[in-house]
Each structure stands twice: as structure tokens, then as C-alpha cells.
């Protein structure tokens, strides 16, 4: 049986600042699901450990993809952290080392002042998650699957693979890619992600807040325009500039989406918040690009 699509997927590079993004996503998730502070801390700490492993070990210090999926089922939240490290060297040093730690108790003499010894991360994950699995998908790499038992209701996951392939649909490479379903999750998660990325682009707090208003508007109005029930957004970060690619949208939906942002006598909120808007046709779909600058 094929695995159901996730409620949230983040496609990122394995940089430390992207781990911050993952943590922001988890905070938004907790807000939407009303997960309490102490459970959130457990999840955040365990997932941070798994991501740190991808940052430090999966690609022997080289950049490589880091993918984080969240599945929300009745009574459980499952977080998968995946890398695609391959080749003997990478496996031995990264993925393999992490998996090996599972069986070995680590060497106490490796305790260096103020630095966590290797393998501690695994103990942390095993203590905090209710169930942990390590997998080697046939496609390569390593996947850490952490299950947390929590009083949550199941949510509809993404229903369409296409949304998960947004990266391929946008011409320019993205700093980060998110797919979120249902939109009730996007309402709390997307603004946090966009806010963190705007901060990374050295926006002033003033403009960060505008970026957040834009993310709110997207999450609130996307319902009629998206394909497959999930909101997929690719973000590029430049100096004092961020660019959001929203795709795939159903044909004709991008313009409709822009008009939907019209609020009362205020005109199009999105037009006022952004510096650039562009609609592209990609096969049977559309992609909406929104650019924000901070030109203070």
C-alpha cells in the first residue's frame, strides 16, 4: 500500500538556519492542533536532533537535501526527517553512523566540555518520541520516523502529488519549499515560515510584518485556486528581497486569486504589500509569483 501523502512537507537544504525553519513550522503546527507547550518542546527537541544529524553528518559537510514530513492521524503526530545521502563515505560517516548508534552505547570518554558527544542525539530522540524507526528507503538516504502520541484529530492530508513537485514547476531554484494541507494548517504555519525567511533576507520588522500579512492572505484565500487541497509555496531569498512561487494553481486561478485579495475600500491588499506580481502558465497549470522588497 502506498504511503499516504503528508499534511506538511518541507523541502530544504541541510543548513543550520533551515533547522530554525523546521522549528518554526512545528510551532505553527502546535498552534493549529492546540498542542501544549511541554509536548511541543519534546517534539521540537527530538526533531531538532534528527535535523542536526542531517546537517552535520548526512553529506559529510556538503550541502544536500533535507526533507521533513508531518503526518497527522487520530491520536498521533508522525514526523519524518529524511536525507538522500548516498555513497559509501556518506553512509558510513552520516546515516550509517547514526543508525549504528542505535545499537552501540557511546563512549563516555568522548564527553568534551560543553559539546554534546555523538550519539547523544539518538538517546534524546528515543527518550522524547513514543516510537522511533530508522529506514533506508530504496531511493537512498536515511529516514528517521518519530511518532508522538497526542490528543489530536486526524486531518486530511495532501491529495495530490503534483503539489509536492512545485519545485520542478518553478523556473528558479527555491531556498525552501513547503506543501501544507489542509489550509487550516497553512494559516498558522505559512506566516511563521515566511516571517523567518523575511528575517533571513534582512527585512526590517516593519516589512517582516507585511510579509506575514501576505502569508495570512494567501492561506485565507487559496481554497478555490489550489490543486489537490494543499497550498504549495516555493520561496527564494535574496538580499532584502523574497519571492514566493505559489503553484500549481488551476488554470485561470492566479488572476482570480489576486482579485480575491480585494478587501472593501482598501483595494487589493496583496498589490499594496508586494512589489512584483507575475502569473506564468506551466502546462495545464498556473504559477503565481509574488515579490517583496524592503527598500528602506
Amino acid at each position: 500500500m502506498p504511503e499516504p501523502l503528508p499534511n506538511v512537507r518541507l523541502q530544504l537544504l541541510n543548513t543550520p538556519e533551515n533547522v530554525v525553519l523546521v522549528r518554526g513550522m512545528l510551532m505553527g503546527l502546535a498552534e493549529a492542533l492546540r498542542i501544549g507547550e511541554s509536548d511541543l518542546n519534546d517534539i521540537r527537541t527530538a526533531v531538532t536532533e534528527a535535523c542536526n544529524n542531517v546537517v552535520l553528518h548526512a553529506y559529510s559537510g556538503d550541502p544536500g537535501p533535507m526533507e521533513v514530513d508531518v503526518h497527522i492521524d487520530s491520536g498521533t503526530v508522525t514526523v519524518l526527517v529524511r536525507d538522500s545521502g548516498s555513497g559509501i563515505g556518506t553512509r558510513r560517516e552520516g546515516a550509517q553512523a547514526f543508525a549504528d548508534d542505535a545499537e552501540e552505547s557511546f563512549d563516555v570518554s568522548a564527553v568534551a566540555p560543553d559539546y554534546p558527544p555523538p550519539g547523544i542525539g539518538l538517546h534524546v530522540i528515543e527518550t522524547l518520541a513514543h516510537k522511533v524507526e530508522f529506514r533506508r528507503p530504496p531511493s537512498g538516504g536515511t529516514e528517521v520516523r518519530m511518532r508522538f502520541s497526542l490528543p489530536v484529530e486526524a486531518l486530511d492530508p495532501c491529495s495530490d502529488e503534483r503539489g509536492l513537485a512545485t519545485l520542478a514547476l518553478s523556473e528558479t531554484p527555491s531556498t525552501a519549499m513547503f506543501s501544507i494541507a489542509p489550509l487550516s494548517l497553512a494559516r498558522t504555519i505559512l506566516p511563521r515560515l515566511v516571517c523567518a525567511l523575511a528575517a533571513r533576507a534582512h527585512f526590517s520588522t516593519d516589512r517582516i510584518s507585511d510579509a506575514q500579512l501576505l502569508a495570512d492572505a494567501l492561506a485565507a484565500h487559496a481554497a478555490g485556486a489550489i490543486s489537490g487541497g494543499q497550498l504549495s509555496v516555493g520561496v527564494n531569498v535574496g538580499p532584502r528581497e523574497i519571492e514566493l512561487h505559489i503553484a500549481p494553481l488551476t488554470s485561470g486561478a492566479a488572476q482570480h486569486l489576486l482579485e480575491d485579495f480585494e478587501l472593501d475600500r482598501l483595494g487589493s491588499v496583496v498589490e499594496k504589500l508586494t512589489d512584483r506580481r507575475h502569473v506564468a502558465t506551466i502546462g495545464p497549470y498556473e504559477a503565481l509569483t509574488l515579490g517583496l522588497r524592503d527598500s528602506r
Binding site: 563516555v108 534524546v124 485565507a220 478587501l263
Partner: protein, 268 residues
């Protein structure tokens, strides 16, 4: 005896010692209750304890409190560890220390109370933002705030979000601007309402804006019609940019809910 020479200099050996030394220290502590051995063990595993406490440092508790709780976990682990079982002490201590911290979080009813650390941090960020805005003439970046406050950028972003935290307003909810926020700029901007020019619009949507409190309506007008920046709006009505941000966010949300409701009513 071999052990005699080792026991003579425990304090010099604790930090670079081998596993054998650790085993010996445990024997001396657990069987003989030797306080010097206990101290040596505590000092040796303090870095581990500290690194575990730091993993929760993004929580809303002050780091010193976290470290104290983690240390209690370490002391428990030192007493309960059984070297005969063949596991290293650290692999036993990590779950014990983390368990202690989690219990602490649950016991102090964290999810119920407003996290103290978060709130304090948010206030600091807000006042730093005002100071830096006055200095530079424009709103600071997150990096500038982080340097100024000696926080890392993630903490600043979280603090911004903490003040941003809002709940989707229902129509029945009391209007914002009760005790905590209205007084500073409430009445002074009432006259701005006259500026609104009614344009030809769907009657249901016009009605929606009427439901937004006057001062929020005025702020929406300044941001989206006059196209002032949030900092300029803040200066004009004498509140912080963070408050402007929060109120704009909330009123846009409210406006959307109102519009959606009236549209669905018409459709029916």
C-alpha cells in the same frame, strides 16, 4: 594496591579520565559514599547535563532554571546507575535527565500559564525595536535586534511571533481595545473616519468594513490607501510598530471573516 594510587588524586583525573576512572569513581560513590568521588562525577558529567538543558533553551523557562532541573536529573542518575549492566553512564543518564526536565514542565502546568520567559523577551524586543527605530529612523532588522539584545535571531523571531499571537476573532468576540491596548490612542483618531470616501462597491462588503472598530479601520486606511509604512503609522498614532502589526493582522482577519459570512449569506 592499584586503586590506592588512583584514589590519591581523584580531583586531577576527573576531566580527562578513562572509563576505568569513571567506574572507580562510581564504586567509591555508590559503595563508600565518598563525597570527593561524587563531586568528581558531577563535574565530569556537568557538560553533558548542560548540553541537555540547552536543548530546551528555546522553551519559555530561564536557562538557569532548566540547568537546575537537569542537574537534579544528573544526581538521580548518579545514584541509580548500575555499572554491572554494561551500559555507559551517559546512555543511562540522558533519558533520566530528560525525564526529569519533562516532569518539571508537566508539574508546573506549563501549557496553562502564560510562559513567563516568552513574555519578558517579547517586551524587551518591543522596547529595543522602538529604541533602534528612533536611532536609525527606520525599523530595525531581526539581526540588529539580536545583536542589540544579545539574543540569537531565532529567539527574536519567536518573540515577534509571541506578540503577534492572535486568535481568529469571532464576530461575537469583544472588540479589541479593552483595557490593554485602547487607551493610548483611542479617541484621538476618531475624526479620521471622515476621510473615507465610499466608492461603488457591493453593499455587503461595504458593510463589512463598518464592523471593524474605527481605529483599526483608520489603520487599514493608512496602510493600504495612504500607503504609509507600519512604522509611520505607529509614529502617527503613538503606539509601537509591533502593535500596529498585530492590530492590522487581526482586523484583516476579521474583515475576511465578515466578508466571507456576508457572501455566503447572499449565496444562500
Amino acid at each position: 594496591m592499584v586503586s590506592a594510587s588512583t584514589t590519591a588524586t581523584p580531583s586531577l583525573r576527573f576531566d580527562r579520565g578513562s572509563d576505568n576512572d569513571v567506574t572507580l569513581l562510581f564504586t567509591r560513590w555508590q559503595r563508600e559514599r565518598d563525597p570527593a568521588a561524587h563531586e568528581a562525577l558531577v563535574r565530569r558529567f556537568m557538560p553533558l547535563t548542560r548540553s541537555l538543558a540547552r536543548r530546551y533553551d528555546r522553551s519559555s523557562e530561564p536557562f538557569e532554571d532548566l540547568l537546575q532541573v537537569a542537574s537534579v536529573g544528573l544526581l538521580k542518575a548518579l545514584d541509580r546507575y548500575d555499572a554491572e549492566r554494561g551500559h555507559s553512564f551517559a546512555s543511562f543518564a540522558v533519558p533520566t535527565i530528560l525525564g526529569e526536565m519533562r516532569r518539571y514542565f508537566r508539574d508546573c502546568g506549563w501549557s496553562v500559564h502564560v510562559p513567563r520567559g516568552d513574555q519578558e523577551r517579547a517586551l524587551k524586543v518591543r522596547s529595543a525595536q522602538e529604541t533602534l527605530t528612533n536611532e536609525k529612523g527606520h525599523a530595525p532588522t531581526v539581526n540588529q535586534l539580536a545583536v542589540y539584545l544579545e539574543l540569537d535571531t531565532e529567539q527574536v523571531i519567536d518573540a515577534l511571533q509571541a506578540t503577534e499571537a492572535y486568535e481568529t476573532m469571532s464576530l461575537d468576540a469583544p472588540r479589541p481595545g479593552g483595557e490593554d491596548e485602547g487607551t493610548s490612542f483611542g479617541d484621538s483618531i476618531g475624526h479620521e473616519d471622515e476621510r473615507y470616501e465610499l466608492v461603488e462597491l457591493d453593499a455587503t462588503i461595504v458593510a463589512a468594513l463598518e464592523h471593524v472598530p474605527a481605529r483599526e479601520r483608520s489603520m487599514l486606511h493608512m496602510r493600504f490607501v495612504e500607503e504609509l509604512t507600519q512604522t509611520e503609522i505607529a509614529a502617527r498614532i503613538g503606539i509601537s510598530q509591533m502593535q500596529v502589526s498585530r492590530l492590522l493582522r487581526r482586523s484583516l482577519d476579521q474583515l475576511r471573516a465578515l466578508t466571507r459570512d456576508s457572501v455566503s449569506e447572499v449565496a444562500r
